[in-house]
């Protein structure tokens, strides 16, 4: 197949984007309702953290996660999550149905990489609302950190580039995890608890990793940092952005290097799991 023309991935992706937008715009009020409901979820969540910070001034003693540092953390979580929700979530959920009904046959027959096709064919545009909300929260919190009288935050272009780079790493790690979970439905026949399982695992990524670094949290911290690296997803970019003082500390440097290794590792592993799983696919009826 080496002589075959390379599939125009970018063009195909643009078509996916356009088709999804057309689909969402067909049911416009549904789109608006989805935007509003995901926004209200965010507002409620923010309310919860405001409640916490009305009682305490930081999360964990001497961790440096004060109110606005944590809001940078929170908006980082939102950036990454909305990205995953917009591009991969609807597809991963559909994947299990494709297998159960045998419709994966059609995807396999197309002259394009199967993983690409099934990972991106549907895009959820309504996630944009939350993405923008995250943007507002992020800018506001960074501005608050820069304007505070003591120990103000100074931003460099390098920090911004690094932040964006680690955001992308975070998305790749979560994507790899999701596609591996979705691929297991080839073996299991049907995987309805995929979404639950996903929620339970990523739940650990939502808070600064310092909260696990004591007592019986340590095994959890180890598990979710080194085996299933969901803890580095948000922690690394958020720490680089909100706590540049810690940038020079050895643990942050180590984590930053490790995050790159984890990203490459998870992507390769997920690709391997996916192709292995495809080999076991035996269509369904016809």
């Amino acid at each position: 197949m080496t002589t075959a023309k390379r599939a125009p991935y970018l063009q195909v992706f643009k078509t996916f984007l356009r088709n999804s937008l057309v689909r969402e715009m067909t049911f416009r009020s549904n789109f608006v309702i989805q935007c509003i409901s995901s926004l209200s979820w965010t507002v409620m969540n923010l309310g919860f953290y405001l409640l916490i910070f009305s009682h305490a001034d930081q999360i964990g003693p001497d961790t440096g996660w004060g109110k606005y540092e944590f809001f940078v953390f929170l908006s980082t979580t939102m950036f990454i999550n909305t990205f995953v929700q917009a591009f991969f979530m609807p597809n991963a959920q559909e994947f299990s149905e494709l297998i159960r009904r045998g419709n994966l046959d059609f995807a396999l027959l197309k002259p394009i990489d199967t993983q690409f096709l099934i990972s991106l064919s549907k895009v959820e545009w309504s996630a944009c609302a939350n993405f923008m909300a995250a943007g507002v929260l992020f800018i506001f919190s960074v501005w608050q950190l820069m304007a505070r009288p003591e120990n103000p935050l100074s931003l460099s272009w390098f920090a911004i580039v690094l932040y964006l780079f680690y955001l992308a790493c975070g998305v790749v790690i979560l994507y790899s995890l999701m596609i591996s979970l979705a691929a297991t439905s080839i073996w299991l026949g049907r995987n309805q608890s995929l979404y639950n399982f996903w929620f339970y695992i990523t739940n650990f990524a939502r808070y600064p990793m310092e909260i696990y670094q004591q007592g019986w949290g340590l095994p959890l911290w180890f598990l979710f940092t080194f085996i299933v690296p969901v803890l580095v997803v948000v922690n690394v970019p958020a720490r680089l952005m909100a706590q540049p003082v810690a940038e020079t500390s050895p643990s942050t440097t180590f984590l930053a290097v490790f995050a790159v290794v984890a990203t490459v590792g998870s992507f390769v592993a997920s690709r391997w799991i996916f192709t292995r799983a495809l080999l076991s696919y035996r269509s369904a009826s016809s």
Binding site: W41, H55, A56, Q58
Partner: protein
Amino acid sequence: MYARAATWWTILRISIEERLVYRGDFALGTLMRFLPIVTQIFLWQAILATIADGDVKGYAHGDMVAYYLLTMISRAFSSMPGLASGIALQVREGEIKKFLVQPIDFIGFLLLSRIAHKLVYYLISAGPFAFVFFLCRGFFINGWPEPEVFLCYVLSLIMGFVLGFFLEATLGLIGFWWLEVSSLLFVYMLFNFFLSGHMFPLDLLPEPWSLLVDLLPLKYLAYFPASVFLGKVEGVELIRGLWIELAWIVFFIVAARFLFWRGVRRYSGFGG
């Protein structure tokens, strides 16, 4: 009378057997449901460690863990997965016709199958629950409550089940008018998650909000039973709470009955 009881008994038995088919999945699911609490506990541990006296409005670390574990029990009684959306689906797809021609009460049927569902759930999840509570026994600083308080606790759990059932059934029956209630259910789920006490102890809320949650029925679904067990609500206030909960139950029973009665008159079924 006897024939009627026999019918209901058969329905209950069938529903129980139906539920027992997926017991392995059930037990695993129950254990997994404790995971989100684990992160919540670590979060509060870190927060409480930064506060001088180590407690927020009377919640020290142990109380917080005990609170979250107890809300799991409250929710095991009051949560009704798939009830409202199931009712709306039956209305939309016309399946509800069968209850209109058969001499079986639709809401009664749902209630029985839900009781069966819960009974099986308790039977299977008792193991995982007992295991987790045994591991965490040290967090219950005050130990078991007094017998009469415990009785009130059990009562509040059972009433939580009834309230949860009729509240969700009412929402589902709105499907007679709206057909698609998923966005309404999302809003309900959102409020339920934050304002029932599932996410945090409601007494941490500052003024206008604490009044709001007091006026809503949601707090009886998670917060109220847990705070009875922990002795946060006592004496007259406890009795008053139970009466208000009863009033809400009556309200939603009447509302569900009324909506069903009006809905059936509005409903038109086609095809076979």
